[in-house]
Amino acid sequence: MSPMKDECKKDFERMSEYLDGELHDDICREIENHLRHCPECRKCVDSLRKSIELSKKAGEEEITPDMRKHLRAALRDCFASEQS
């Protein structure tokens, strides 16, 4: 197995912090400089960014009025039995 290059590994480990804007400017510049010269890491960051966006969009749930009604009824029952 050919090991991942040290610079690539370093960026791979901090890719989420980079995408979340949680790194200092100088580290971001260092990463961006590396990305300009490394197509593999560019692909890595692009696919990660895409899957994050997809997870956020597709992760939303729609709560139906029935589910809401059921929860309210259950809460009312619980409060009534606690207070009696």
Binding site: M4, F12, E17, S47, K50, S55, A58, G59, E61
Partner: protein
């Protein structure tokens, strides 16, 4: 007792609740039930479990709201209670212990981090079938995340809490939140790509 204004803040509702208003309680439930329910569903994967989590969260919240000193936002406090409810439910179900996700597991034999095909999410409502299919893939992938990674992933990615808020909700270190989120994202990328290419 004063009546609740048309657009009360959480602080107003808490104050009204503390002075005995049941209307305030209903409004708090109305404001946060969808988010808590969604969180329960994403954590447990079953409607009944999600409903149990939501019930337990609101019951505990209203039991202790009188003592709540608003050192954190009401929403964050509710999620702290909900996260604990999820952990209790998991203990009751006597689930397998969490396995760790290691970074090395994402580094492939050629020394790269692999090749991934990630589909795009279309905002066009006419792509309903595609969207439903993608949603199914994402939901299934979330359910395969080990519990402690799923907690962080759902709070950060689905609920939109930042790192600091997530550390407070889960009472874990900043580094743990960052590490778990990164590994969960890599895991999700792999699962999404695998499911998408198989489908």
């Amino acid at each position: 007792m004063t009546s609740i204004t048309s657009n009360p803040t959480d602080h107003d509702l808490i104050a009204e609740f503390k002075s005995g208003s049941m209307e305030a309680m209903e409004k708090i439930v109305g404001r946060y039930e969808d988010r808590i329910f969604t969180f329960g569903l994403k954590m447990c994967g079953h409607l009944q479990d999600a409903e149990d989590i939501a019930q337990e969260t609101f019951l505990n919240a209203f039991r202790y709201l009188k003592d709540f000193r608003e050192e954190t936002k009401l929403k964050n406090w509710l999620f702290m209670i909900a996260a604990r409810a999820c952990m209790r439910k998991r203990r009751k179900k006597k689930c397998e212990p969490d396995h760790e996700i290691s970074l090395d597991s994402f580094i492939h034999e050629d020394g790269s981090d692999g090749k991934y095909e990630i589909p795009d999410w279309s905002d066009d409502p006419s792509d309903n079938v595609m969207r439903a299919e993608l949603k199914k893939i994402i939901d299934a992938a979330i359910q395969t995340l080990p519990h402690k990674y799923r907690l962080v992933f759902n709070l950060r990615e689905i609920e939109g809490f930042n790192t600091k808020e997530t550390t407070e909700i889960l009472e874990i270190s900043t580094q743990s939140v960052k590490t778990r989120l990164h590994r969960a994202r890599l895991f999700m990328r792999e699962e999404i790509s695998k499911q998408y290419m198989e489908g």
